[in-house]
């Protein structure tokens, strides 16, 4: 009602307090700017990383083909035994017909060099499957060799002096001629997704590596998931709180931080040298990566079981459930969404792991697709490592394209983990 007495003037309204308040706000703004800056920097790095990978890798998913009308002349292919015909001559004849002005030996060899080795196989396989084609002309879209593919994708500098580039002027003229008559086509590179490794960049694919990674992860999951979950349940629910249990716990946490190459050495020593399991096989890779994933699974399982309110445990015990029933009827089902999430993230880690696989010989040149976990195989990250090491220009785009495939799998797995958690997690 009346004016407040001077003694009642609050400190919080004084000039001094006002300055203090402004300083606090300034500090808050500063912190916000710093945080945003850090976030921006992270995003920038991510964009640079993904951008460079996609820019150099997208062309790995497409390939160049050329049209060629091939005549299976009787002089080169015998209708009675078409599979032993001289296919190189058949293709050479077709190329000579297309480029009649080439006659010198070097020129003819260069002409043959346009077509990828795979092209000869395609032409041969066609007539082997259908002997009636002998004497007739068939239109083919044949894969071209890597250098031509590079030229078509614009990776070869036409302005460079002739002796400084992979293709001479004459070959470039042939390709331009084919291009002009619509005989060159750029198509999706199915070979890249389905076939195994190859010395020829245009024939190399990640199919073998993807399959190898699949077998490795299958073994890893089958070994590490049940073992890890069982170990975690024991430690969390049944283990007496004694010193030795503490020691095990500390060691499991330490194990999660051990460099992966050490697990590789362990795998080499135990699985190959002592147990004599097959070298380069996904089963060994899987076992090695299972050792590496085990601590992750144990830790996430324990964390997800700790996340269940103790009241659920009390409720079950209170109506006479035995400890095993408490675990199997209540704790495990409730922990499952988070547990699976942890397991999937552990698997994603294992998928990206290279070093341990190098130690157990999964760094081999494997052309065949592995049919099972005991076949020799390589894995996606190892395949990337191998290609990154190759000198041919054609492997540069393959390396980046394989990285894109690997990242695609990782994103898909993490996405699945997020989805499972969102969809099935019960909140209290």
């Amino acid at each position: 009602m009346t004016d407040p007495a001077p003694a009642m003037t609050s400190y919080h309204l004084s000039e001094k307090a006002g300055r203090r308040l402004r300083r606090r706000y300034a500090r808050e703004r500063g912190f916000k700017v710093l945080s945003l800056g850090a976030l921006g920097l992270t995003a920038l790095f991510l964009v640079i990383l993904l951008g460079s990978v996609v820019l150099s890798g997208w062309s790995g998913f497409i390939t160049t083909k050329m049209r060629l009308d091939v005549t299976y002349s009787e002089s080169h292919v015998d209708a009675g035994d078409p599979s032993s015909g001289n296919i190189r001559m058949v293709v050479l004849d077709a190329l000579r017909e297309r480029f009649p002005d080439v006659s010198d030996r070097r020129g003819l060899r260069a002409l043959l060099g346009i077509v990828s080795n795979r092209g000869f196989l395609d032409v041969g396989r066609e007539v082997a499957g259908d002997p009636a084609l002998v004497g007739r002309t068939v239109e083919f879209w044949l894969p071209v060799s890597s250098d031509i593919d590079m030229l078509n994708k614009g990776y070869i500098d036409r302005t460079a002096p002739e002796d400084r580039r992979r293709l001479d002027d004459r070959t470039i003229a042939w390709i331009d001629d084919l291009e002009a008559s619509g005989d060159i086509a750029t198509v999706f590179n199915w070979t890249f997704l389905t076939s195994g490794d190859s010395r020829e960049p245009e024939l190399a694919g990640i199919g073998g590596a993807v399959l190898g990674s699949f077998w490795v992860l299958l073994v890893t999951f089958l070994v590490s998931f049940p073992t890890g979950v069982a170990a975690a349940i024991y430690l969390e629910e049944f283990a007496p709180k004694r010193r030795w249990v503490d020691i095990i716990e500390v060691n499991i946490n330490n194990l999660a931080a051990v460099p992966s190459i050490v697990f590789g050495l362990l795998g080499l020593a135990v699985f190959l040298n002592v147990m004599h399991l097959p070298r380069s096989a996904p089963v060994v890779g899987g076992l090695t990566l299972a050792l590496m994933t085990l601590p992750t699974i144990i830790i996430t399982t324990r964390a997800s079981m700790k996340g269940i309110p103790p009241s659920i445990r009390d409720a079950a015990l209170g109506i006479g459930a035995s400890p095993v029933q408490v675990v199997s009827h209540h704790l495990l089902p409730l922990a499952m969404p988070r547990l699976l999430t942890g397991a999937i993230i552990g698997m994603a880690q294992a998928l990206g792991e290279t070093a341990p696989l190098l130690m157990i010989g999964m760094v081999a040149f494997v052309v065949d697709l592995p049919g099972g976990p005991a076949d020799a195989a390589t894995a996606l990250p190892v395949q990337i490592f191998l290609w990154a090491d190759s000198p041919e220009r054609g492997f540069v785009e393959k390396t980046s394209a394989a990285i894109m495939v690997l990242l695609g799998f990782l994103v898909a797995m993490n996405g699945l983990a997020v989805y499972l958690r969102q969809r099935f997690e019960i909140r209290w």
Binding site: K241, P309, S311, I312, R313, D314, A315, A316, L317, G318, I319, G320, A321, S322, Q325, H329, H330, L334, I426, W428
Partner: protein, 281 residues
Amino acid sequence: MVAAAEHAAEDTARPEALTLPAGRLPALDGPVKMRSRDLRLWYGDKLALTGINLDIPEHQVTALIGPSGCGKTTFLKCLNRMNDTIDGVRIEGLASLDGADIYDRAIDVVQLRARVGMVFQKPNPFPKSIYDNIAYGPRIHGLANGKRELDGIVESSLRRAGLWDEVSGRLDELATGMSGGQQQRLCIARTIAVSPEVILMDEPCSALDPISTARIEELIDELRDNFTIVIVTHNLQQAARVSQLTAFFHLGRLIEVNGTAELFHSPGESMTEDYITGRFG
């Protein structure tokens, strides 16, 4: 409080002096269902119960009252061995059910908990359907032969918990979606479904509103016909309303036990009087 702390110091020094003489236990008019004699409990090195002597009469409601940390919940949990799951707990003395020592090696703790059920402070339904919550106990104990019998147990349990009319149409809904009061009655129904002999209730109404509390209190009174009930409560009026026998705990000691009416009208100990008249606690 200072005096109380001194008491505690004295207690640890001479625990044998704290044992209440059996003659001070009230004469019960019914048979004794559960009994404790010189029950002592340690959490690690800390003595939390200092020689409790208490007889729990059959088909009556026994209320355990006292300030926070006085050991009433600890004592309650001794009666169905829920303290077993806590690390570092050591128990001495006798606790018996129908004259048999429940801490005896021959006693199966799972069987004991089926005979002595428990309702907790916070409603803790399983995150399953209402039906599955009730059916869980009978299922694990094999109380029902076939679906029809199980349905019968679920219905009768919900009826006795006064919940049937509210939930009969939505038995397959998640129990965690019910109101707090309904959840607590569900937890009581879940306990009943196992057909225990004794029901322990640990402040069953502390998380509930007055209307739900009133319903549960009515329910407790009805359940007395079939079960022996021990209830821990902070609410003295509640103890006075629902119980026939009241035990007052303080700092791990059983200060006084008497018929509820007698204890509230003419407490025998000055500490009891101070507590029920609100002078401390």
